[in-house]
Symmetry: C2
Subunit: 483 residues, 2 copies
């Protein structure tokens, strides 16, 4: 890029005004309509004094309103902060504060959560803006060009230690990710990419943004429903899909019908697909493309092509064009996965220490452990040490443990993931407790403090936790306590 | 981009080693093979002392050798200077000198021309390197990353006045052009894009480079042969094609068979397609996409989508994403076409005056005249004033007139293009002469000095040429002298 980035929706509204831009079960809007709706949100934000560079938080479920808000916020050069609708008011308030968001967009399904988060975060109610109301401002704001190094979004990711961090993703990050993905999976003018993953995570958000960059159509489901997804693939012209492995299994279990050749690719991220599921999927005509990605690299880093799937089952494939990959170890040995290239975040918002720790000499230290085989295929061995992936959501044991230790009757805690057929993994905690501890009470207490998917489904009480000489809990040993 | 650009062939060799990269009538090579061949050319260049940033001229016809040379030159960070094989030794020598090329690559069909050009340009024969010989160096050079602002090529274009100018095109120019084109016409992993236009022009070269960027297959024909092109589209899996209007007509005239749906797009540049040809093409299943482009913008600037073709016949369409277009006139009025965006050349090699004249405040002044209708569709009215397009080659009247005036018996000259069924246009000259002038003798005299396609097919001798008060020849009036 020479430094300028067009407004993606604005460009397509000028070139392809009648092409469908966003399709939800309730409604389909063209690029011209999306452009107008985004321009109205932009006008409403301007009227409230929001300026380019300001952070604007968005608390919404998958919907047309979500898409309109994303393009409306960036229309005026403000920075999107998508919030995870599953978080507690305390967790949301912390992210509002950390990002310095002074405006919070919501819609009907998140109205209550938005009010609670604003109250908890000390935001005045005037900072809340409903996406359901007719726009208060006059003229829709026309598209303007952005600088390609401008921040487009700040996406919060948890880490192995401490508080979530806000990864900044620029227009250039998303543009290059979209291009590299297109040069891998292909793109056709009539493509329809189905987003059934949450749009507030990078996996869902990048479907929305790629579609705008390509001028193709994003199909948005409110959530994952295997019957609805199967119907969309077979009867509604969906050509591309992004899911996590458990979703793939549920789609296959839902019926026995084949999938049509119009379905060009199913990106499966968030963990490896078992050989059994893979074979069932391929036999039914689901072109499974296994991928490894993370928020800090605007989603996809590597993808396994269909041709390589049989010979390299379990691999996440090879890097997309422009992305470089290294393993911080001797050749062939497992080590930390390092990534560089134009899709990598410039850093964490307001957190130079975390940025310096994570990005060294241009290489993103992912915290994930992987291995490259002699042909250069990546095998991801451990997601960020003890990361738990439950129903597509990342759960960091350290975060849950820190909250558990605030409970007056819990003295020590080790949080691990246990295999689960429906969710992939569920959270479990081994705890050392004072007399009077009750798992039911602790669950209620936790639900007020962390998102439901982070609350342990199982507790075991133990006398002592396995620890290193320096006193660090050894979670991999704690795992045996649940057998 | 954050500043780094991978070696395109090197990346694909690592990721898709067995995918076909280049296919010619004689041979098909995979990305692994192309990578090795390019690395050998790189090694041979290094051995001769060529370094990153050096200009390396290439005089070759459409062939595998041409493709290997392109990727071999850039493999070591040297800059490709593709020479028009139709030029005279004098013309070639001038471009060798202007670009400061101290190395000239050729193959068997251009051996004689290369020797003559080197002699004319005062280059020692040690500067010549044959692509037919086995590489003299040892190990093939591995791919290294480039800076995205590095010059990839210098492409010579003539202008309305004076000598040809060498437009610098960067890695980023070609990358962004490829991305924008993909987001317009689509790209599929198994695409095959047929190049029957000369690879030494931007129209052909960009087919070669896009294919490498996409990791798809470039099919190279030695030249345009309508029967061979029709066969490739119907039986050899070609999905994309770039031609000029006269080629389209010859394809349609060659037979009556339909074209298969595997053919996704036929980019037609270099002038408008008549409504009659367009209707015949569409009826036969040729998805004609009319386009406007130029060397200084790495080819495509605008493209007319198939959906808009019926309602906007004769238009060159709307700008690709990231490209901005302006007409230097009141709204709706014709004026000079101005272009900006990431595909625009940073300037002319060693010619800051021409750069300053052509690129002002980030806008490329194309010299072409166009008009935007109320829906934003571009109509190109005049290519660079009096530009003649003959068989896909641009002929600038001023350049031919300047040579004519060197003839001892020619006192004044006006060069124009006359309509021609086979070539689109042919060159014609109205001349004021001294006694003894003979058109046959002048033709022989000219053939020694300019490329054959620039030599007038018709001469008319006149007593006086229409001129403005200031003495400037009015070519549009001279045109009537041939009726």
């Amino acid at each position: 890029m020479t430094g300028e980035m067009p407004d993606w929706v604005g460009h397509r509204a000028a070139v392809l005004p009648t092409h469908p831009a966003v399709v939800t079960p309730e409604r389909a809007v063209t690029y011209a309509e999306l452009d107008k709706l985004a321009g109205e949100v932009g006008a409403a934000l301007l009227e409230r004094g929001v300026a380019a560079g300001d952070r604007v938080a968005l608390l919404a479920l998958n919907s047309l309103e979500f898409a309109v808000a994303v393009h409306g916020i960036t229309r005026i050069g403000a920075i999107l902060v998508p919030l995870n609708a599953r978080l507690t008011p305390q967790e949301l308030a912390w992210q509002l504060g950390d990002s310095g968001s002074r405006t919070l967009l919501f819609h009907a399904p998140t109205r209550g959560a938005a009010l609670l988060a604003a109250t908890e975060g000390g935001l005045p109610f005037t900072s809340l803006l409903s996406l359901d109301d007719p726009p208060v401002a006059g003229e829709a704001i026309s598209a303007v060009a952005h600088s390609d190094d401008d921040a487009h979004s700040i996406i919060y990711t948890s880490g192995t230690t401490g508080r979530p961090k806000g990864a900044i993703l620029t227009y250039s990050n998303f543009w290059n990710s979209a291009a590299a993905s297109a040069f891998n999976m292909g793109v056709l003018p009539n493509d329809r990419w189905l987003a059934c993953l949450p749009l507030f995570h990078v996996g869902g958000l990048s479907v929305l943004l790629r579609s705008a960059i390509y001028g193709t159509t994003a199909v948005i489901h409110g959530g994952f429903d295997e019957t609805a997804v199967n119907r969309a693939l077979r009867h509604e012209g969906v050509s591309l899909l992004s899911v996590v492995p458990t979703m793939l299994q549920r789609m296959l279990d839902a019926d026995d019908a084949p999938y049509p050749p119009s379905l060009r690719g199913v990106l499966v991220g968030g963990g490896p697909v078992t050989r059994e599921i893979l074979e069932r999927a391929l036999a039914r005509g689901l072109p499974v493309l296994q991928t490894y990605g993370l928020s800090e690299a605007a989603s996809q880093v590597t993808t396994l092509s269909l041709a390589d799937t049989a010979a390299h089952a379990g691999s996440a494939g090879k890097p997309l064009v422009c992305t470089q990959l290294r393993i911080d170890a001797e050749p062939g040995q497992p080590g930390e996965i390092l990534v560089s290239g134009p899709t990598v975040t410039p850093g964490y918002f307001g957190n130079p220490e975390a940025t310096a720790r994570t990005i060294q000499d241009g290489w993103l230290h992912t915290g994930d452990i992987g291995r490259l085989d002699e042909d250069g295929f990546l095998y991801v061995l451990d997601r960020r040490d003890d990361l738990i992936v439950s129903g597509g959501e990342n759960v960091y044991p350290a975060e849950v443990e820190a909250v558990l230790l605030q409970h007056p009757l819990i003295l020590a805690a080790a949080v691990v993931g246990l295999p689960d057929e429906r969710w992939g993994q569920v959270v479990a905690a081994a705890v050392v407790v004072r007399p009077g501890f009750d798992a039911g009470e602790a669950t209620v207490w936790l639900r007020e403090r962390v998102a439901g998917y982070k609350v342990p489904r199982r507790f075991v009480t133990v006398d002592t936790l396995p620890a290193t000489a320096s006193g660090k809990v050894q979670r991999h040993l704690a795992r045996t306590m649940f057998i």
